[in-house]
Amino acid sequence: MKGEKAGAFKNITELFDRYMGVFFLVPGIIIMGLIIVYPIVTNILLSFTDAHLIRGISKNVGFDNYLRIIKDPFFMNSLYTTLLWTVGSLILQFSFGLITALLLNNPNIKAKGIFRTLIFVPYTLPIIVVTILWRWILNRFYGIINYLLVAVGVINNNVSWFSSSVTVMPSLVVMNTWFGYPLIALSIFAGLQTIPKEFYEVAEIEGASYWQTFIYVILPSIKRILIMLLILRTIWIFNAFDMIYLVTGGGPNRMTEILTIYGYNLGWKEYWIGRAAALSVILFVILFFLIIFYMKGLKLEEE
């Protein structure tokens, strides 16, 4: 008996040893499942119902929510606005980020450590602080931008940057660029540090100009970083909500009503939670195909 018990115990111990890794992973998987998979699945199921924020009982409506959204002219307006916001922000953030990274990488620049720290400050600020700050910077009456532009004679009268259809989106994009470009700059700068010096030496020996060095040495070396940043920043900017909502609320007259604000209004102001869930699924599908396009188009997979 004792021998049998000892044998059984040995088997249990062996079992435990063999699958110990799995046992340690299970709690994490359960938690991940609860906080990621469960909300996603619930959201998808919700998108097929007429769920209401105030009146709880809902029924299945099939694809009705999706059709309503796609037929809604305000949805198309929001989609266009979101693309404008995303593309504009990406172009400026990457342009400034790349230029800043190249400057930081320049051996002739002194006190790089201090600049590196200062450059990153905007990205560390909470969004609410960024929006309050920029609302004051661009304030029609008290803003420093109007003051300087009037002082140097670029404009004669103060501009209301967030009121006009011409200036509201560019103003928001500039605000977003100021906030987001430091991450691009420092990520690219980190990538630049990994380029072996020999590459630059060979380029110099071959008589390459700075531009040729940039195109044939630097860009290929940091391509993977650029693509990953592009994917991540596209997702983050596309899904942004707070920065625009806190400044314009989606106005004036829906000119800055990006998809996330449109969805928020659907769910929290019009009470249609089911439709808001459907919109979030549509957003996910749009982003999913966008990322696939990036990866295939930029040949990341092959590499």
Binding site: S160, F162, S163, G249, R254, Y271
Partner: protein, 436 residues
């Protein structure tokens, strides 16, 4: 220590923790309020502390700013973690009731003394829905026309009583870019335009919804009010300005002398005294009723901040706490944390010597008396004909702001913009009605 002993200790500890936690849950009252000023926070903490001592329980306060009330209570309701008592605006009380997340408060009303306790009319106006009391008002206020009395005096102007007079003084006071007669705050972030516009709508005896709570926008009175608002904007605001936010920009524009007139509650008086005592002592704040359209008697825009008996775990304790808050001396003490901004809804408090002899109240007696007079005939946005579930479709949707953005920003004719808004509101009301 042997394994068996260790296991026994662990099991015993778990049992103790379980019962202790259960006991604690029964003894804790959870109270949400939205009062973010330090003086009101302190007062609520003191009231809670006194209640704890008297009842031998714990009161857990959570401060939920007004803008977050909806997201917070809906999440709590879904999670089954509603507080026992919370404060809310009229729209909040309606939504919470419709969701089935609050208890009727008729019994508390009767226990307090009913119509012998509360100021006549105020409970019915702000808290009664389908014959039941879905909340109890804690305090009320009404909107007045506030103006820079010092500048009016300099310019030899009198406070306006009609719309024509209001347009006239606004135009006279406007001298861009350093001074504007009446800046309008049309940003979607603050709904300041909705509240200001509603006051004008009431002054013109018009409304967003009719007595059956159908969309009532495409009426001559409504269009007339929109026309006046646009004219007022043109007379007194920076042209093309659509992005100023009421909560962020009204106070600074008034105190710096950029803006001369606005529609607001007497909360501004207390803000002035606290944040700019020098200006306050110069008695720059003038008050009068919101001017009416010619020939109209008019009414007013107002609001009640109410107590809601939400479906938390401690209903009996919640009822005791609500009654505790209304005890006259304590209640007047709370009202005087923002004197002239918070108005009594009980008879005893309205007649309280302590309230009327408070120095700030005496200094601002004119505004206080005007507000109390206006409260009698004031309603929240969208609730001209009583509390209803459709009001948030006009008060919190940005409908007014979007009408103005179309007219002012895009040059859409007024009638067309109003007709579009009527269609939008009709559709929203219809959908909500089907749902209810």
């Amino acid at each position: 220590m042997s394994k068996k002993l260790l296991i026994r200790i662990v099991i015993l500890s778990l049992i103790v923790v379980f019962f202790r936690t259960s006991a604690l849950a029964q003894e804790t009252l959870r109270f949400w309020h939205a009062f973010t000023q330090p003086v009101r926070i302190e007062m609520m903490e003191k009231i809670a502390s006194d209640f704890e001592k008297e009842y031998g329980v714990k009161v857990q306060i959570e401060i939920v700013p007004w803008a977050q009330i909806k997201t917070k209570w809906t999440a709590a309701y879904a999670a089954g973690t509603l507080p026992d008592v919370m404060v809310g605006l009229s729209g909040d009380t309606m939504e919470i009731w419709l969701a089935g997340a609050s208890n009727p408060m008729d019994n508390i009303y009767e226990e307090l003394g009913g119509d012998k306790f509360f100021t006549p009319g105020v409970v019915d106006k702000f808290s009664k829905y389908n014959g039941q009391l879905i909340a109890l008002p804690l305090y009320a206020h009404a909107r007045l026309l506030l103006y820079r009395a010092d500048i009016f005096k300099e310019e030899g102007l009198e406070p306006p009583e009609t719309w024509d007079e209001l347009l006239e003084v606004t135009a006279k006071l406007t001298n861009p870019p350093t001074r504007y007669g009446a800046i309008q705050f049309l940003n979607l972030t603050g709904f300041g335009a909705t509240e200001c516009f509603y006051s004008l709508l009431r002054a013109n005896e018009a409304s967003f919804l009719d007595e059956n709570f159908n969309a009532n926008i495409n009426t001559p009175e409504f269009i007339e009010t929109v026309k006046f608002f646009v004219d007022w904007y043109k007379a007194g605001s920076p042209q093309g300005e659509l992005s100023l936010d009421f909560h962020a920009d009204w106070y600074s524009s008034f105190t710096t002398g950029l803006n001369m007139i606005g529609i607001d509650t007497m909360f501004l008086a207390k803000s002035l005294e606290t944040e700019n005592p020098e200006l306050y002592n110069k008695r720059v704040l003038g008050v009068c009723k919101v001017p009416t359209n010619k020939g109209k008697e008019g009414a007013y825009g107002g609001e009640a901040i109410s107590l809601i008996n939400t479906k938390g775990p401690n209903n009996e304790l919640a009822e005791e706490f609500i009654k505790y808050l209304y005890e006259t001396d304590r209640y007047v003490g709370f009202l005087l944390t923002i004197p002239a901004g918070q108005y009594p809804v009980t008879i005893a408090a309205s007649e309280s010597e302590r309230f009327w002899s408070y120095p700030f109240i005496i200094e601002n007696k004119e505004g206080v008396q005007l507000t109390l007079e206006c409260i009698e005939n004031a309603t929240p946005v969208g609730m001209t004909y009583g509390i209803n579930p459709y009001a948030p479709l006009v008060s919190k949707s940005g409908l007014t702001e979007r009408i103005m953005h179309k007219i002012i920003g895009e040059g859409v004719p007024i009638e067309e913009a109003v007709a579009q808004a009527q269609d939008e509101l009709e559709k929203a009301v219809k959908e909500l009605r089907e749902r209810l």
